[in-house]
């Protein structure tokens, strides 16, 4: 869908968006209510026991660590932590749910009433048609230095529940239920602790939705609560989307969009849905309240085939567990142990290392990047933080992207990058040489110093040695030397090139430049 189509729609319509974000707590060793390990994949139905299979007579025993992680997540997003809480049973029949009820939370979630601040910059700003050129400071708060804006997104609640199993439909196309002859169920995932965060409907654009989800992921990663893999489904984002004419006070009918397995999909699915709903309304139609499925290939949402029924989940307090009562002191102790969160980290990078805001934000948002960065800077010293950041966001990022690997899998470790930056800053090698050294280190895993040694790459900065080479080059090219002295100063580059060739690229470019000009004149 064309971007200008969305922009055009958003001039006339206001979109109201709320997200429901499910995150598996992968930080724990065992499932929510039994001792089975928490992991991804594996042979079907190998990480199961009577409890997570819902065998007759089996009982749930709550995983304290998972509750603690949920409270930590709530504290990191400014939520109020309940002093009194309990689980409820949410009842509906589905084959991936062993007990045909899900142990979840209802009116007493562990966390409620929090918020997260997001910043939107770049292209995404244009989606806020209402803001126009003049960014107001009330509501979305402008961040004038880069033309972006900041907005606060409320968090209604974060509660804890158990994940379901996974269904595999066999015999139909692409594993979909339509046309399938039978279905298989894998309960390995069943019972994995799952945090569900519900946002307030404070989100107004697809870009804000993306930023909000990214921000949460960044916070969860900083806390270490989850690996937040959208591909593996450990972080799943559903969007409630409605539109209304600008100025209208009543909310439009919403649809719930599911099956977005990347942040781009989240953005595109919401954008599609906004335009779809606006087109319906423009044509005099009405929006149905329904669940819609995002098809990333076809780039569209479609209504689920099954007739939408108003579910009555018949929630009631889970009688297999007693309610939880939390001490304020326990909550305070968890709050004190909270790690530095991405926003604070970004601000520190700016203040402490003088990084540009964009670079600081990029490094701080991704916990693994931040750890790498800080490990390298600890070795190079704070004064070399900027080149470390430049290398990370430049060559290293490009390399990881091309190789399709995460930074934790990089052969160039933080210590190696620190060493490389040291070699450049000390003048041992040139920037150009450094790129070669980086490429070799990335493929072999050898230390940069060893590579420089082995290749005899050390940069020559010794003025007298360079003067000798420059003199011989000038002697060998008397005509060019005469032309230079006659006013063709552009020939300096020719001499620098000849000298560098003679020196097999090891001359310090700055020194060579200086000597060439001095001796020619």
């Amino acid at each position: 869908m064309a971007k200008d189509r969305l922009t055009e729609v958003l001039i006339r319509y206001e979109a109201v968006i709320g997200l429901e974000i499910h995150t598996e707590i992968t930080a724990v060793n065992t499932k929510m209510f039994c001792g089975c390990p928490v992991a991804f994949g594996g042979e079907p139905n190998t990480r199961v026991c009577p409890v997570c299979l819902g065998m007759p007579g089996a009982l749930p025993v709550p995983n304290e660590a998972a509750i603690e992680w949920t409270v930590i997540a709530g504290l990191a997003t400014e939520c109020d932590i309940a002093l009194w809480s309990q689980f409820h049973r949410k009842q509906y029949f589905y084959p991936d749910m062993p007990k045909d009820y899900q142990i979840s939370q209802y009116d007493l979630p562990f966390c409620s009433g929090g918020f997260v601040d997001i910043e939107v910059d770049g292209d995404g700003v244009a989606e806020r048609a209402d803001l126009g050129g003049a960014l107001p400071f009330v509501g979305p708060e402008a961040v004038p230095e880069d033309g972006g804006y900041r907005a606060r997104i409320g968090i209604t609640r974060i509660h804890l529940e158990e994940d379901t199993g996974k269904m595999v439909h066999v015999g139909g196309s692409e594993g979909r239920i339509a046309g399938a002859t039978h279905s298989l169920v894998d309960f390995n995932r069943a019972g994995t602790p799952l945090m569900e965060l519900v946002s307030e409907p404070d989100i107004r654009t697809p870009e804000e939705a993306r930023r909000f989800a990214q921000k949460l992921r960044s916070i969860w990663l900083a806390l270490g609560v989850s690996d937040c893999s959208m591909e593996e489904g450990s972080m799943r984002v559903d969007a409630n989307v409605s539109v209304r004419l600008r100025g209208a006070t009543e909310l439009g009918t919403k649809s719930e969009v599911k099956n977005m397995n990347s942040f781009k999909s989240l953005h595109d699915a919401i954008a599609y849905e906004i335009v779809r709903q606006a087109d319906l309304l423009d044509a005099g139609g009405r929006v149905e309240q329904e669940t819609r499925h995002w098809d990333a290939g076809a780039k569209r949402t479609s209504g689920l085939r099954s007739k939408e029924e108003a579910h009555d989940y018949r929630y009631f307090p889970e009688p297999d567990m007693v309610p939880f009562s939390f001490e304020l002191a326990w909550i305070d102790a968890l709050a004190e142990k909270l790690p530095e969160l991405p926003d604070a980290r970004r601000d520190r990078y700016i203040a402490e290392f003088g990084l540009p805001k964009h670079d600081a934000a990029a490094l701080a948002a991704e916990h693994a990047l931040a750890c790498y960065f800080e490990e390298a800077v600890a070795l190079t010293g704070a004064d070399r933080a900027r080149p470390v950041a430049n290398w990370m966001l430049g060559d290293l990022a490009a390399h990881l992207n091309a190789a399709g690997i995460e930074i934790v899998a990089s052969r160039v470790t933080a210590a190696m990058l620190a060493e490389l930056v040291g070699l450049i800053e000390d003048g041992t090698i040139s920037g150009k040489q450094a790129k070669e050294v980086f490429a070799e280190a990335a493929s072999t895993g050898d230390a940069p110093g060893a590579i420089v040694e082995a290749r005899g790459m050390k940069q020559v900065s010794d003025t007298s040695a360079i003067e000798a080479v420059v003199r011989s080059v000038i002697d060998a090219h008397p005509d060019e030397a005469a032309s230079y002295r006659g006013g063709k100063v552009g020939l300096a580059g020719f001499f620098v090139g000849q000298v560098m060739r003679e020196m097999r690229g090891q001359g310090n470019p700055a020194v060579v430049n200086e000597v060439v000009r001095r001796l020619l004149e």
Partner: protein, 495 residues
């Protein structure tokens, strides 16, 4: 026919006889199976016999004795296990077609603990389907008959567990009690039957009916045997988050301390409930006199909210049951309908075919009570009534150590006599408030009905985790009455 007459021996005597070498554990098991062979065709206490497990357990006891080891407290004691408790090597059918071929994949904690102290698992006992009932008439596999009169019900839902002890087929048995399912059949069969305090015994492995109400407990022919079994099965369990870490004391040590000084309260307003037979009512007053004669301080107390117990129970129990029984869906185990058109058809037909009428009734009641728009009026109100009942008991236990009521408003009835469900439900009017409050209570035989000759049970109710005092009172009463009820059927067999 074996020389050992289990009905003439207590569990403690069986264990001590084996320890003394008077007979072997294997012979005890043989005696149990011989008695079953002779009587269970008529009584139908068992759904499944497990001789392989029982003889293996017996051989372990006999080997332990041969090796000179001290025998554990229930070594060689034949035991029946209600068929809603999991035990590897057995089917656990819950008296339902739904689980006709269901083989346990793990052990119920209470059963495991009973076997760990040497008890012999003789078989799995008949029950009302999923423990819904007061007569065992709701078993999908046919009812159990009362050993006192084969034309009459043994009570329920743990009717098989009660009958096998009453008939001397086993020395002890385990039942489960959600609204009286141990105590009511105990009263109707003349056995001692205990519902422990909620949380005293792990529920792990007993197929859940009402999770906030269920408790496993023992049957025996004496208070001492029941106390022995309770010691074995009690205590915290990491697999049950509602099990209590309250220390398990000795329940047998203080049994001989008598009733002197005990504060005993007759629950007067419950005695006056409509439907309570005159002879039953008189038996409680007689019991109070017995306690007074033993030196107890006897007084009276009312539990005004208890009259709402039945109504509250038939909301809360079915609500929890409707949820607990959702898992029987034909997907992973249990009955699955043939050739389902789709998953909804699979669910609906599997459940319609697998469940009996009372089970379906309870599921429907509970589903309705939890539905949007009805929750506050039903479940919410029922929980309020429950809180009132808890408060009534709490106040009563500030004045008394134990409370007395009848266990049931009448003695064992004939098959088919209570054809409408509500009349049947009324049989648990005295037992239900105790489950709602979570207290412990025991039914002790207090006499025989002068017209029918059927046993009458006295319910003694104790405070939370006050099983020691409760059983001490029961033992004092048992000794004072000198009543050792043996059904005529068993008497004739022995003569």
């Amino acid at each position: 026919m074996s020389v050992i007459d289990l009905s003439a021996l207590s569990a403690r005597q069986v264990r001590d006889s084996i320890a003394l070498g008077e007979f072997t554990a294997r012979e005890a098991a043989e005696a149990a199976y011989a008695r079953i062979e002779a009587l269970d065709g008529d009584v139908h206490a068992f759904l499944q016999l497990t001789p392989e497990l029982a003889f293996a357990a017996a051989d372990r006891v006999d080997m332990a004795r041969a090796a000179g080891n001290e025998l554990p407290p229930l070594a060689g004691v034949p035991a029946g296990i209600k068929d809603n408790m999991n035990l590897i090597g057995t089917r656990t059918t819950c008296g339902s077609r739904m689980l006709e071929n269901y083989e346990s994949v793990y052990d119920c904690t209470a059963v495991r603990r009973l076997l760990d102290v040497g008890a012999l698992p003789i078989g799995k006992c008949n029950m009302d389907e999923f423990a819904f009932g007061s007569s065992t008439e709701n078993s999908a596999y046919g009812p159990t008959h009362n050993p006192w009169d084969l034309e009459r019900v043994p009570g329920g839902s743990s009717g098989g567990s009660a009958a096998c002890v009453a008939a001397g087929m086993t020395s002890i048995s385990l039942g489960s009690d959600t609204g009286g399912s141990i105590r009511q059949p105990g009263a109707l069969t003349g056995t001692v039957a205990l519902k422990p305090t909620y949380g005293r015994v792990s529920r792990y492995g007993v197929v859940a009916f009402g999770s906030s109400l269920d408790q496993i407990g023992p049957f025996g022919t004496s208070v001492d045997d029941v106390a022995l079994a309770l010691e074995a099965i009690s205590g915290a369990d990491t697999m049950d988050a509602t099990s209590s870490s309250e220390p398990v004391g000795s329940y047998t040590d203080g049994l001989d301390q008598g009733a002197r000084g005990l504060r005993v309260g007759i629950v007067r307003d419950m005695l006056e409930l409509e439907g309570c037979g005159a002879e039953i009512r008189a038996s409680v007053d007689l019991a109070a006199e017995t306690f007074a004669a033993l030196g107890a301080e006897v007084g009276e107390v009312d539990l005004p909210a208890a009259r709402h117990g039945l109504a509250a129970y038939y909301i809360i129990g079915p609500a929890e049951a409707s949820s607990n029984l959702a898992r029987f869906d034909g997907i992973r185990y249990g009955h699955r309908a043939a050739d389902p058109a789709d998953v909804l058809d699979l669910y609906m037909r599997s459940r319609a075919e697998g469940f009996g009428p009372e089970t379906i009734r309870r599921i429907m009641l509970g589903t309705y009570a939890l539905s949007a728009g009805y929750y506050d009026a039903y479940y919410g109100q029922a929980q309020k009534a429950r809180t009132r009942i808890i408060e009534d008991f709490r106040a009563a236990f500030e004045r008394f150590d134990v409370l007395l009521t009848p266990t049931t408003p009448e003695v064992a009835f004939r098959f088919g006599e209570k054809s409408d469900p509500y009349t049947m439900y009324l049989n648990d009017v005295y037992t239900i408030p105790v489950n709602l409050a979570g207290n412990c209570a025991v039914s002790v035989p207090s006499g025989l009905c002068s017209t029918s000759g059927m046993p009458i049970g006295l319910q003694i109710i104790g405070d939370y985790f006050a099983e020691a005092i409760l059983l001490r009172a029961a033992a004092a009463f048992e000794e004072a009455t000198g009543f050792d009820p043996i059904p005529p059927l068993v008497g004739s067999l022995n003569s």
